[in-house]
Symmetry: C2
DNA sequence: TATTTTATTGAGTGATCATTCAATAACTTT
DNA sequence: AAAGTTATTGAATGATCACTCAATAAAATA
């Protein structure tokens, strides 16, 4: 393999910097000039690496949802009970929602911003969100089989419920919510899932 | 009062047309040219009437949240029990979320799109969302006093919970959700509120 | 060292954006 | 009917946008 003139920049760092910007300001409000400053990439390099602004967002979204899946997996390894995993995950969402300048979930933000405007990116975001939902469904399936979770609703239904709560928290994070209120809400919700 | 050259257009119709556009495409993706076509207003008239694009969105948001409050009030008049009001409201949210090209809640969409980009409009959106949340808190307060709702959590906490669910449904509406799953989720949620 | 290959550079491009304003038209008042 | 008032009109403006590309620089190979 011929390799003349290797890349000076680190792809990971570039994606992280871009992610921070897209998360703070959203897709449209983030100009390519902003991205050039944050990533310290000249326009030509940026377009060489990611095609265009859409391609950069796509790389960011993949990175973001990969991290989410990795986090779920790490919780699954750490805790033996499925309920514990759900509880810890929700509590982290609550903590994030109550931070001072909480920005919610990048995937949710992107989904709502890009609806009916960038169909291709919208599809991409939906797929990433579905990946997370499916991972939860798999986890819950185990919990139902082991008898830990009730079998009143199937795993798919329970996963839908949990995603609705998580995404609700993501929106709520923009409203300076009361932490105790959210905790009580999530406790009650989790109670409806266990057997 | 001197009135030479009265307005040719109807302010309500203009706001409705603008609302439809903002709802479909979001604030940034809706160009002033789009708004001119939809409202059949020339740029000068539009700016005379609303100041600028932000002013038009503000008028739309006020109109939107007024309608939401009116809807809650109409349910309150129609049903004697608070639980019935909450149930009907949530069921309408579910129905909307499962429509073919569901667009979620305009206020939620706007909140997430404008975060960290248009602080003034963001504040406006938060206020409109809070108006709705407060109206629910007042309604729930009655339900607690009458003993219909449990007093385990105060009215403010219960209102936070319900808004989290409603906003979660608003996001979920973009994901072609399963109606039965949402209904079961909301039934279980309402059960945690009653005494 | 000379050649080849490829990433980097950054000024430049055309399109689109929100917004303005002087001219005009329509309605009321006198 | 004339004068006065104000909404309407639409071409024009300047700014910003995402994006391009020919020139250049740096590393690997011969």
């Amino acid at each position: 393999m011929i390799m003349a003139r290797p890349q000076k920049y680190q792809r990971e760092k570039v994606i992280d910097a871009a992610q921070a910007l897209f998360w703070q300001k959203g897709y449209q409000a983030t100009s390519v000039v902003d991205l050039q400053s944050a990533t310290e990439l000249k326009p030509g390099s940026l377009y060489k690496a990611f095609g265009n602004k859409d391609g950069l967002l796509q790389a960011v979204l993949e990175n973001y949802s990969n991290n989410t899946l990795l986090f779920i997996d790490s919780l699954t390894e750490k805790h033996s009970s499925v309920m514990a995993v759900l509880e810890v995950f929700l509590n982290r969402q609550i903590d994030r929602s109550c931070e001072k300048d909480a920005e919610g979930c990048l995937l949710v933000n992107s989904l709502l911003e890009l609806q009916g405007y960038k169909p291709q990116l919208e599809t991409e975001v939906k797929q990433q969100l579905l990946r997370v939902q499916v991972r939860f469904a798999q986890l819950i399936e185990q919990g139902i089989k082991s008898g830990e979770l009730s079998d009143k609703m199937d795993a798919s239904g329970k996963a839908t419920a949990i995603m609705t709560v998580v995404w609700g928290l993501s929106v709520m994070s923009r409203m300076s919510p009361n932490k105790t209120h959210l905790q009580t809400f999530c406790d009650d919700f989790l109670a409806t899932m266990s057997s």
